[in-house]
Symmetry: C2
Subunit: 210 residues, 2 copies
Amino acid sequence: MEKRSIGPGTLLGPLPVVLVGSYGEVERHGTTSVIQNPMTAAWTGIVNSTPPMVSVSIRPERLSHRFIMETGEFTLNIASSSQAADVDFCGVKSGRDLDKAKACHLTPLKLSTLSVTAGYKECPVILACRVHEVKKLGSHDMFIGKIVDVLADDALFAKDQLDLTKADLLTYYHGDYYGQSRRIGFFGYSVAKTNVLKRRLPKEFWPEAR
Amino acid sequence: MEKRSIGPGTLLGPLPVVLVGSYGEVERHGTTSVIQNPMTAAWTGIVNSTPPMVSVSIRPERLSHRFIMETGEFTLNIASSSQAADVDFCGVKSGRDLDKAKACHLTPLKLSTLSVTAGYKECPVILACRVHEVKKLGSHDMFIGKIVDVLADDALFAKDQLDLTKADLLTYYHGDYYGQSRRIGFFGYSVAKTNVLKRRLPKEFWPEAR
């Protein structure tokens, strides 16, 4: 476990990968259109529990930055592993050049909690967010958003309990995408009683008693 | 892909799970000691690329909150799946009651870039951070930190290239811990040339041409 210093860098992970949904007007090849624009981001995270808040950092030169500044709202569409190539595509291409939602067969879904910005039907979980504050940090501006609603696929519910393991969520770090692997514990399992462990976790993952 | 609204909530994921390292004085059972204190957090994320910055949100009532306010520095110690039970333990227990580092056999590692706060040797990656700003958001305060150094296990390097897949990093969402799974793509792979795909990715993960 000898360590090597590699200097300052953004090496935190695994990170969630989301399609940031935003809405606005764009001019392409001389024609003006109003679009729903998905942009990939991994510089995102939960920043507060009560009220539920999220941050997503976006470069000012991005089209999505202007769209979110104009509307004051955005969606975070969490992606499944099966969507990895679409997610990658929406990270390397710009809505200034093509309709990314169309190219990736992403279907905009109108949300009752936002005024104009859609989520994407194909993503298993959608967070509807309203901008609380924008902070300039350097290369990126951090949008702090209040989560005003969460939508999840009907198929992810079993007896009204949300089971996210079915969603096979995508993660990202250090330039690579990863699928999601097996559940190995639950919050509090290191100190849980045996009968609770027995009910909730395969024996191979039981922690040693402390 | 019909969606169900479940109202506002913190349902973003998978999230990285880190041991937040902080340093300070604590009184336990009438005795004052100076300790390195690991606290588990998943409300963390990258918020800026240049300069590299991170955020981690901590409740004001937490011991780590006071420690970080006093020293202006913290470490984020990224955990492997094999450390899941320790990580869970450091999330449910408080440094006010016991020495969590000792209980979990975590070895503090002195860092040249911070004045008093240690990293933990057993974690594959350590981010050394100095507080840039603290933002009150409600239940949590968000610490925005400049990443002043990153340290990674020697064993994770192959020909001076960092290979994080070897670290089997831990993730967390919706109350459960998960291990890391197979790499399924790299940034830009949706538009990469065949010879690049051939070199960098097993054929089963090649995206369809667009």
